[in-house]
Symmetry: C2
Subunit: 337 residues, 2 copies
Amino acid sequence: MAAKTRVVTFGVGVIGQQVVKEIIKRGSWLELVGALDNDPKKVGRDLGEVIGLGKKLGITISNDPAKLFSDAKVDVVVHTTSSHLAKVYPQLESIAKHGVDVVSSCEELSYPYIIDEKLANKLDQFAKEHGAAILGTGINPGFLMDALPIFLTGPCLEVNRIKVTRKMNAGSRRIPFQQKIGAGMSPSEFKDAIEKQKITGHVGLQESIAMIAAALGWKLERIELGEVKPVLLKKTVKSNWITIQPGTVTGLTQTAIGVVNGKSRIELEFVAYIGSEEEYDMVEVDGVPPINMKISPCVHGDHGTIAMLINMIPKITNATPGLHTMKDLPLPAAVLP
Amino acid sequence: MAAKTRVVTFGVGVIGQQVVKEIIKRGSWLELVGALDNDPKKVGRDLGEVIGLGKKLGITISNDPAKLFSDAKVDVVVHTTSSHLAKVYPQLESIAKHGVDVVSSCEELSYPYIIDEKLANKLDQFAKEHGAAILGTGINPGFLMDALPIFLTGPCLEVNRIKVTRKMNAGSRRIPFQQKIGAGMSPSEFKDAIEKQKITGHVGLQESIAMIAAALGWKLERIELGEVKPVLLKKTVKSNWITIQPGTVTGLTQTAIGVVNGKSRIELEFVAYIGSEEEYDMVEVDGVPPINMKISPCVHGDHGTIAMLINMIPKITNATPGLHTMKDLPLPAAVLP
């Protein structure tokens, strides 16, 4: 029997806590051997208590990667701390320097060459030197708006244009998600929140566009990131958290376009608001043959992200050292408990 | 600039001829350096004339692989001769012994461990010894009923059951395809054709089931191959070739079930007849989260197969020696002219 894969979770936030629960369910092939977090309210406490298991796991949350990786033999880290490459870069080095592989939910890491090519190449080089394989993934970016449309061009002889739409009814999602999309704000509060970057919209659109372009061999001229716009409805809508009257923001919409040879060839649209009657993920490949795909309802974001983090573990631990992206690794597949 | 990939086509039939045309379009990265076929009516003639280009290509169709691979430096063969592993096995050895990689449309090669595990392992060993990478692919098997559902389980934490349906209106397809599904036969002629194996139905259902099970780590107890059944309609239907009256066969339907732990967990349904009002490819993953996907209209079979053969070339020439299947190679993606 193959040895179990020894995992550490780096980040014990909302996603990290659910990752821990899923790792524990997969005791047949995964062994949780440590937890890292910087939050002083969590450091030094038992992981089981912090994530509300009602029992100790015998794993003390640490804020000292160097000590953890020196003390324990670790194969891979599931990393869930931040959306931003610059912020996670030192964390990734602190893991990779020990030759430990990483699967991270960091959105900008999903295709980091577009946000900071120099830093991405530096990370790739560092990982190669230290024998670590690194991947940024999740449901979006990482699957719905990049890996999935890339995969769907497999049966195409020609591709003229790709459009991907994700439309979510935010009403049944986590309350922090509903807050993150501005639900319940007045239009002027929304405008202010955008200006002060309290609302940033979905992070990952430019990474997804860049990954698609790279996979198809398209030279991107530029990415046009549309502004994040509020959605206002003429009816009253309710979520599991809030009731919203007409004239109040129910969520947001966002688009991004990849321009190749003067033409808009990649178009992404992200729509999330309370009260949306339809929920779907759609990919339209204008090509030969045309491919019009719809997943309905849309894939659950949190479940999807946690699953991608877990399911890509065997792919990254089998990969060569260096920085990888979803377009270059074998097909994701569910690795069940 | 990277050197072009040097390709030989093995098989100059319906699919092989279209493959040649697509290779020629991709002169920026592919170079056609030879053609093999056993048909005495084709051997010795110029490839361009045989495929109806109206001009010579300067490539003479050969029936001597040993001579061709000794004379020319070849990177990869696109192989389109037969659906059956036992029949293509000696052909694959004749290629692989020269260290040349193969992408083949042979249906049984898509997951050959289910039809003849010993022969599949022998081929894997032979390919490894001679430094050749081998893949069986196409639209189905190779994509729609195996790689696609596997890929769609990537965002799943649990998978209970997978159902895949391909429903085609055969009325606009190639005439040989319409004949292959029994269109125009009386019910007794159809029955007779099935008994005499003149109609075999779709080849690939058990390969697809076995690939899905292997990807998800499910131990297959057995595969239940349903009988190939004729489709009879109450209305008159027309194709580009034939008008079919009520009571006459318009096409066929076929199912296959993969049983795991006493439960039907993988279900494939293939439906192709003239006059079908709907055309789609559908994947239903009963899991957490559930994934219900529909591509409509269904993906064009010939275009899809030719595209998969071409688009997987860079994946197989970059792969390690040995026998590969779609579940273990990086995501397919269109590699455009």
